[in-house]
Amino acid sequence: MKYIEEFRDGDVARSLAAEMAREARTDRRYRLMEFCGGHTHSLWRYGIVQMLPPEVEMIHGPGCPVCVLPIGRLEQAIALAHVSGVMLCTFGDLVRVPARDRRSLLKAKAAGADIRIVYGSADALRLAKDNPGREVVFFAIGFETTTPATAVVVKQAAEQGLRNFSVFSNHVLTPSAIDAILGSPEAREGRIQVDGFVGPGHVSTIIGTAPYERFAREHRKPVVVSGFEPLDLMQSILMLVRQLNEGRHEVENEYTRAVVREGNARAMALVDEVLELRPSFEWRGLGTLPDSALRLREKYAAWDAERKWDIPYTPVADHKACACGEILRGLKKPTDCKIFGTACTPESPVGSCMVSPEGSCAAYYAYGRLAKKRPTNDL
């Protein structure tokens, strides 16, 4: 597969690792946050973490739309799925996430709700076309990478007068999450230290690299926007190490083959046409943030599931022992969580970080146990 396999070359990886070992100074630490859950996944899947010099520490960020979805919103989706006549379309990632009392979309399906797994928003729209007698609701999640796809289908539904289609929008914004991390009490008190960021590559195909410039400037932290293949990540980490060594704090783009500074204007315009900012939105782990999420505009109210059905929102707190919130903010590592690997496992997850393929806990459990002394392979 062109433009994929070349970026997975093991020999080049070893050279990069050697280069990093040469350039990383031994008298300081490099605490780098990889914002995006897909980067976390790649770091572990390719064993990159073990190849980094010991001075480089990767901190996992909140860029996992499944992980930051508050339980209350998932509860609303489950309620929608139980409305008579509704066909709820969802991404596979959400199906096993635990809601309250260990409810989930999977269990709702077993209880008779019509829940369909789709690859994308267009598949949900097609289901609406093919099933005129049913109300098809698309459970939309995602950062800026995924939002344009939702905007396109809402617009298409409106143009085609497809009244039995609606969207339950949970789209969220990357800069707001970065603000929350850098502006958090822990950050201000110096309890977490993030020296630089590996920026989300696919989000940036849409929003460009410009939005990160204010973080680099105001917080004096370097940002390198990275592709997802293992060589992209290693190169990006190397670029961050270099910036820190040289005392620079710029936004650099490693993923130049897919990302430009200005982003994708067409996609952003489409999003702007269909969606608007919510004044506030609760994020799991980060609290309630202003101007951090999107809902459908008034013009598209007929395709907004929240307006079509009156399903109230009730905030639901995380399980007491679940450390997802702190892990998402970079305060703790999965192995710092008291129930990691014991009460909370992929088989019986307590929090979404263990379910989501992008979640830190899932990545650690799947790939990281080799590195730790408390491994268990028991079922």
Binding site: G10, G47, Q50, R116, N377, L379
Partner: protein
């Protein structure tokens, strides 16, 4: 030839109804015109409720499996051929020669007779080509909504020939070599490509196939293979983890040695899946003493169903019983069981 039944079964438009399971004339006709005709063997033609046969000398093997796959028809196979191959394979994984199969059907009221005929004829073809007849069976019908078209359960009996030391999941030992008989993930991708909401075009077909002849070759050359298992649901990762647990060992698998077809890799990339988690229905894992590895590999490659057989790793001492993968990078990670179903993801 005049039919002994007063009314013809309407294969084109007809559907299964409750009378087909009631034990009366309609059921007898269905059995006669479809099952007995298709499976076509003397034991079944006797129409007793059981099949009587001589028991060959040796250790006998008995296995059973239910088949509930959806969609019923998929590229490279269907629920019928799968039901034959899968059970033959479970017998074969004991190093045994499969002798006979039984087949029981649970039909949902309303299931099209045409589909049923296709399934049964496919089963009959698979059984004939494998040389393992279906000698007894059963048919039940459940009300509409209480079944998913058709469920099939097949039971197989076989005999382990004297020189063979029966392979078993608890016999893997540190130093042993781990092999696979061919490309992994094909069946899983073939099924996924037929699911709604995941439309993609691929030339990948299910690898559903009976492995008993391949196994016969293998045990002839190495009568003491430690472990044989076919990696069906949960894929190679589940099978290797099961064996590691049963044997109390660890394993290290070389990612670059795994045979995976290009389109399977592509489908997995697209959907965010791992070929190691996808089902295979015509492949086996063999674990053998290092001294016999090359000989075994050569024997596998000489068989059409083992042409792409490969050594993929080794068994090691590990109290944690981890199955580790050595990535193309030289880094190592744990290969874990699949949790839940293999679901496509966006993240």
């Amino acid at each position: 030839m005049a039919s002994k039944w007063s009314r013809r079964l309407d294969w084109a438009e007809g559907r299964v109804d409750m009378t087909h399971g009631s034990g009366g004339r309609a059921m007898a006709q269905l059995i006669d015109e479809l099952f007995v005709a298709a499976f076509d063997n003397l034991l079944l033609a006797k129409k007793n409720d059981q099949a009587l046969f001589e028991v060959p000398a040796g250790r006998m093997v008995l296995t059973t499996d239910a088949y509930v796959v959806s969609p019923i028809f998929f590229p490279g196979g269907d629920i019928g051929s799968l039901a034959v191959h899968g059970t033959i394979n479970d017998v074969a994984m004991a190093g045994a020669r499969p002798l006979y199969l039984s087949a029981s059907f649970i039909l949902e009221e309303g299931f099209p007779l045409d589909d049923l005929r296709r399934v049964v004829e496919s089963m009959a073809r698979a059984s004939r080509e494998a040389g393992v007849p279906v000698v007894t069976g059963d048919t039940k019908v459940v009300e509409r909504g209480k079944g998913d078209g058709v469920f099939i359960t097949t039971t197989g009996v076989g005999v382990v020939p004297p020189p063979v030391v029966a392979p078993s999941g608890d016999r893997a030992r540190p130093g042993d070599v781990v092999m696979v008989s061919g490309t992994i993930g094909d069946h899983g991708v073939a099924i996924l490509s037929s699911r709604e909401g995941l439309a993609f075009e691929t030339s990948i077909e299910s690898d559903s196939a009976p492995l008993h002849r391949l196994v016969a070759r293998m045990v002839e050359v190495v009568p003491d293979i430690h472990v044989l298992r076919d990696p069906t649901r949960g894929g190679l990762s589940a099978t290797l983890n099961e064996i590691a647990q049963q044997s109390g060992v660890g394993m290290v698998i070389e990612e670059r040695a795994l045979p995976v077809r290009g389109q399977v890799t592509a489908a997995c990339e697209l959907l965010g899946l791992d070929p190691l988690h996808l089902a295979n229905e015509g492949k086996l894992v063999a674990i053998t003493d290092r001294r016999h590895a090359q000989k075994l590999l050569d024997a596998m490659r000489a068989d059409p169903l083992g042409a792409q057989a490969a050594i993929i790793g080794e068994v090691i001492d590990d109290e944690n019983r981890f199955v580790q993968i050595e990535t193309t990078f030289g880094g190592r990670r744990i290969l874990d069981w699949l949790v839940g179903e293999a679901l496509p993801r966006i993240c």
